[in-house]
Each structure stands twice: as C-alpha cells, then as structure tokens.
C-alpha cells in the first residue's frame, strides 16, 4: 500500500478524525491476487480513510460506548507460535460429525481436514478460491451496500481480509454435515479479518459453524469479520457464529449479510460469550417471493462486557417471512444494545415478520438497551416486534424448588434455559449440544448469580 496516499488522507481528514493507522494492518502474504480483488482492497482502503469515526449522535451508535471502538494502534497479526496446541484445541471442540474443518490462527490457515464433502461442493480458504473460483466469489463477495453504522469497519475489512472460508454448494448439492471453521486470534493490538462466504445455489444446502477464540487469555486482539450468506431458489444456509474469545481484551466486530432468493431459507445465529466489546450487524434481504430468514441471538454478558447488536429484516418480495429471536442474559456491570428494524418494502404483500429481544437481568448494575423498529409499505402484512427485560420470576424458582431443586441450581437452570431457547431453534442435534455446552461452561464460571 502506498504510504503517500495515507499521508494525504491524514491531511484531508485531520479536522474530523485522526486516521487509525497508515496502511491496512495485514501481513503481506505475497499472493497473486486478481485485479478485481486488488481494486476492492484499494477502494475499501480509500473509503476507510475517508469515513469519519462513528459518533454517538448517529442513531446507529446510540447507547454505544465509543471509547471501546477506536483501534488506534492496530498492527498486522503475527504468526501464532503454538500452532499444534491450537489445532488440538480446535479438534477437541468441534462437533463429532462434520463435512470439513479449517483452522485459522492470526489470519493464517494452520489446519484443514475434509471429512465428508460431496464431490461437487467447494470448500476452500477465500484467498485460494480467488484463482479457480473467482467468478463465484466475485459475484457474491462483499456486495452489501448498506450498513447499520459499521461502514468504516466494513471498509477496513474489505481492505484487509484474506482469511476465512469460501463454501459453494452448486445446484442440488446438499452438504449435510456442518463445515467447521476456527478463527484463533491473539497478540495486543493485532488484528484479524476473517471472512465467510457461503453460496447455496438452487435447492442446495450448506451448514457452517464459525468458532472465534483467543490464542491466550487477556490480550487486546481485534477481530473485524465479515460474513456473506447467499441462497438462491430453494437453497438453504445455516450459519452459526460462536464467539468465545477471552473476556478480557478482545474487541470483535462482525458484519453479516444474508440474501435469500425464491423459497430459499437462511438461518443465522450469533452466540456471544467472550470478548470485552462486540458489535454485530446483521442485514437480511428476503429478495424473492417465498424467501425466509431466521436470525437468533444468545448473549451471556458479565463483568464489563458490552454486546452491541443491530439488525435489519428487509422484506423485498411477496410472501416472505422472517423471524428474529435474541436472548441476552446480563450479569455484573455488563451492557447489551439491541436495535432491530423490520422493513416491508413497497409491494411486499403477505409478509410475516417477527422480532423479539428478551433480556434477563441478573444484576442491578447491568444495562440492557432495546430499540425495536417497524416500517411497513405493503398490504396484508403480519408483523410484530417487542422487547422485554426482567429478572427471573420468584414463581419459576418456587416451582423448581418445590420439586427439590435448591434455589441456586433453580436459578442456573432457568437462566440456562432462557439462553438456550433461541439456540434450540437451530437445526442439528450435535450443533445445538455443542453450543449448549459452551453456554453452560460460561454460566458455570460466573461468580455472581
């Protein structure tokens, strides 16, 4: 990258903001990249430099603690030195039956294993896919034009990403078992930019699990991830983001985009257990008649963790359906922010759209913010949105206690059940069991119930 360019930009934007760093904080992997991809990178970098920092008065950043999202000293992630133990960890934690397993550490692929993948399916790290499958990647990679406030992060991601997985299921190809991807990150101010691109063609099916974890505890690593999920006619994609990084240090931004075609179905789930600050954006387009998208969230926040989640359910055709269920359990002085918008575009008649955010407050000092929204421009539409915040009811505890379960265990069971409700709507017993175990593990580690 040209440093002259960055310096010019510095001068131009000095009034409003100081650039975070002079060049994309990514290592030079000396790859032969196609021109179109280089263009995306340089345009993204320009956009990143030109965009102002997020501001609190911007509705999209309302309630956010902006001090947490300035990554002034970001540097390229260095290679992890304990690669073998990371691979062992990843293997120990994956689901038993999987289609393929890829492990990245600080942006570098350190392990891959294909177990049960249909012949016609393609499952490759994105940078390797560019050479032979550039046309499919190019058609779907980072096509999201809007953001829910994270434009600057999206631009940074576009300028820097070279890790993550491309999964392509051509027409009729069903990848039954999940593709499992681990993204380890570590090192103070070291950044990774994982991308997941899943394309299910007509009547094809893909299931992906992204695991985000820290190499060691307590390092100030930064994760700026992007996810593009695409399903055309009758296609299906299920995507799970399991963010279980160290709860002291890492900051994580993840920008998801889903596009469902005719009668297609996309399910995505965000599970947040770790990191000190998380920003999830999820933009969902029901583009053609009969498309359906479901979005689930399960966040377990404690200490001073802040989870900031913004979603859009955009109904752009007739007979489209979507359902969103986010569950947040908060302890200590943690904070959550949920802002969700349902948009029913003109002419998108017979739409069913639901949005629910429920917060369980386990401490007087925890803070749950919810901003549900609805814009309807069509007829015969069924929409509902709502959010609730509350504590575990005494009656529920009484009921469990009356069966001999001590109050403390009753409290844990109810909280765990609360969190599991959204995850339990996913497909795949092993996937759910894997997520439940992680959630339970974090619950068990909490000191203050």
């Amino acid at each position: 990258m040209s440093s002259t360019l960055s310096e010019n930009e510095t001068a131009a934007t000095a009034e409003t903001s100081v650039p975070w760093f002079a060049a994309p904080p990514v290592h030079d992997i000396a790859l032969e990249l196609p021109d179109w991809y280089r263009e995306i990178q340089s345009e993204s970098w320009q956009t990143f430099l030109n965009l102002p920092d997020p501001e609190r008065r911007d509705e999209n950043w309302r309630f956010a603690d902006l001090r947490k999202l300035r990554f002034a000293e970001l540097i390229a992630a260095r290679p992890a030195d304990n690669v073998e133990s990371l691979v062992q960890r990843a293997k120990a934690e994956r689901v038993e039956h999987f289609a393929a397993h890829f492990v990245f550490a600080n942006n570098r692929l350190i392990y891959s294993e294909v177990a049960d993948l249909p012949e016609e399916a393609i499952c490759l790290p994105i940078n390797q896919a560019l050479a032979d499958h550039g046309d499919v990647v190019r058609a779907h990679f980072m096509k999201e034009e809007g953001t829910l406030g994270g434009a600057k992060f999206q631009a940074l991601h576009g300028a820097a990403t070279l890790s993550g997985l491309f999964v392509h299921a051509p027409k009729g190809c069903v990848i039954e078992k999940p593709v499992v991807v681990h993204h380890f990150s570590g090192g103070d101010f070291q950044a990774i930019f994982p991308h997941t691109l899943a394309v299910a063609e007509d009547n094809a099916s893909i299931s992906i699990m992204d695991f985000f974890e820290s190499i060691v505890d307590g390092e100030q690593s930064v994760i700026v991830g992007g996810v593009d999920l695409v399903a055309s006619n009758g296609g299906r994609v299920q995507y799970v983001s399991m963010q279980d990084e160290s709860d002291a240090g890492p900051k994580h931004v993840q920008l998801n985009s889903s596009r469902a075609g005719r009668d297609a179905n996309i399910v995505s789930a965000f599970v947040n257990l770790g990191a000190s600050w998380v920003r999830n954006e999820s933009i969902n387009h029901m583009q053609e008649n009969g498309s359906d998208i479901q979005i689930f969230g399960a966040c377990l926040a404690n200490g001073s963790q802040e989870y900031d989640q913004r979603t859009l359910q955009s109904h752009e055709a007739e007979h489209t359906t979507s359902d969103l269920l986010f569950k947040n359990a908060l302890y200590d002085e943690s904070r959550t922010i949920f802002a969700g918008l349902i948009q029913v575009q003109p002419g998108s008649h017979h739409t069913d759209s639901y949005q629910t955010c429920r917060n369980l407050l386990g401490s007087d000092k925890a803070e749950a913010n919810a901003m549900p929204g609805l814009e309807i421009d069509a007829d015969q539409v069924k929409c509902s949105h709502g959010s609730t915040s509350g504590q575990i009811s005494d009656e529920e505890i009484f009921y469990l206690q009356a069966r001999g379960i001590p109050a403390e265990s009753a409290r844990q069971m109810i909280s765990l059940g609360f969190m599991n409700e959204s995850v339990s709507k996913l497909t795949g017993a092993e996937i759910k069991e894997n997520l439940f175990e992680r959630i339970e593990r974090k619950f068990a580690s909490l000191r203050n119930w």
């Binding site: 005494d394 009656e395 529920e396 009484f398 009921y399 469990l400 206690q401 009356a402 069966r403 001999g404 379960i405 001590p406 109050a407 265990s409 009753a410 069971m413 109810i414 765990l416 059940g417 609360f418 969190m419 599991n420 409700e421 339990s424």
Partner: protein
C-alpha cells in the same frame, strides 16, 4: 413416631390478611383425604403454605410430616423430605426440557458425587409417560411451555410418579380437564395409592372424587375445616351446595 401428615392449628396470612384461621387435620399414611370448599375458603393457600411459598406468612401452628415440621424446612428440603404439591397452575420454564427438569429433581435427592443412571431414568420415565398416555415428544419439550391445560396437569402427575413422595397434595388437579384427561390423571393417582403414601386432594367439584375415591372428606370454609365425613359427604355437598354447610354451621353456632 407417628406416620401421618398432621396439620395443627395452622394460621397463615397474606399481607396482614389472615386466610388460614386455625386449620387442623391429619392424613395417616395409606389414606386419601379430600378437601372441598367454596372459592375463597383458603384451599389453595393451604397447599402453598405447606409447600413453603414465600408470599404467605405462617403466624401459628405446625405441619408435621412423620414428626418433622415442614415449616422448619426450606422449600426444596420439603420436597426432598417426601412432600409433593401438584400445582393448580404449573409454571412454564422456557428452554428447560422436561427430561432435564426431572433429572435435576432426582439428582438433587442423591448424595453428592453420585450420578443418576441415565438409561434407567429414561426407561422409568417412558413407562410412566405411557401410563399417562403422554407422547414421548414431551421429554424434549420445555417444561409446560405451550402445553394445554390437560397436558400440564398430566405433567404434574408424571412428576409425582417420578419423585415418589410420601405425601402428595393435589391442588385442583381436575380444573380444566375434560373427562378423558380426568380419568387418565385419576388412574395415575390411583396407581400411586399405597399403605406407604398419603394423599390430600383439593377440589371444588365432586366429579374428581368419582375417580379418586377418598377415605375421608373435609369441608373447608373461611380458613378452617368445618365438617369431616366419609366419601358420601362429597355427594351430599354436590347435591345440596356449599351453602348447606355454612347454613348448618350458622344453626349450630
């Protein structure tokens, strides 16, 4: 050691309003007693006080279960000591499966370090569910979440069958049940009757007592037991109405 559930001179209040006003009765092991009474007589308060609900303040009296005063125990300790309440309005616990709930309840009864035998547990549970004509899909469903009224009541009886209490109080278990569900629930209770177990069946209607035939019937009014008799008392009540008892009381007073 007496083998009974013995309530003596029980007084209890909610927010300074006295609901139970010196109630006494004794259920020897092996017997089924019924309490009937008009709405507002304090029937449900009695069941909740025995279970230990914190909204009720006990101001006097004892509830001795085989010589142990239930009122000295925590809610969960009462259950583990062998007391069971089938709720009139069972609570919904989203996200906690029925099977896990029952397992946790049974696990709580084991000494520390001992684990439930999962295979035996499922075998036992399935057999009891079959007896209650409960679909096996209920094991994976969240506790009472989205259950119909009848399904909730059956689920209460399933819990009772799994926990095998010494004494069980059924609080208006018949309310909201159609006749088929009522028969199934009653059959479940009758299978549990044994010389080692006592029952207190609280009901507003005589109908349930056609299927769970009691040894003794008590009539409750204004926080006290005002009349005690055999099973024929229930029929008499059904025929003459609760006013008959209260009027009779007024005359004797």
């Amino acid at each position: 050691m007496s083998q009974s559930l013995k309530i003596e001179n029980l007084h209890a209040s909610v927010e300074d309003t006295e609901i139970l006003k010196g109630l006494s009765l004794e259920i020897p092991k092996g017997e089924v007693h019924a309490i009937m009474g008009p709405n507002g007589s304090g029937k449900s308060t009695l069941s909740k006080v025995m279970a230990g609900h914190e909204d009720y303040e006990v101001t006097a009296g004892t509830v001795l279960m085989d010589d142990v005063d239930l009122l000295d125990l925590e809610i969960d300790e009462r259950s583990r000591a062998g007391f069971f309440l089938a709720f009139q309005y069972p609570h919904e616990i989203p996200g906690v499966s029925n099977a896990n709930f029952l397992r946790a309840a049974l696990q709580a009864r084991l000494p520390k370090g001992e684990e439930i035998d999962a295979v035996a547990f499922y075998k036992d549970m399935y057999a009891k569910m079959d007896a209650l004509s409960m679909d096996r899909k209920f094991t994976g469903r969240s506790v009472n979440d989205g259950f119909s009224g009848g399904e909730k009541k059956r689920n209460e009886i399933l819990q009772m069958m799994m926990l095998e209490p010494k004494y069980a109080v059924l609080d208006e278990t018949d309310s909201g049940l159609d006749i088929d569900a009522l028969k199934i629930v009653a059959e479940g209770v009758n299978r549990m009757r044994s010389p080692e177990r006592g029952f207190l069946v609280i009901t507003h209607y005589q109908r349930l007592l056609d299927y769970i035939v009691p040894d003794v019937v008590h009539v409750m009014s204004d926080g006290q037991i005002v009349k005690t008799g055999g099973k024929e008392l229930a029929l008499e009540l059904e025929e003459k109405g609760y006013d008959w008892v209260t009027e009779e009381l007024a005359v004797t007073a």
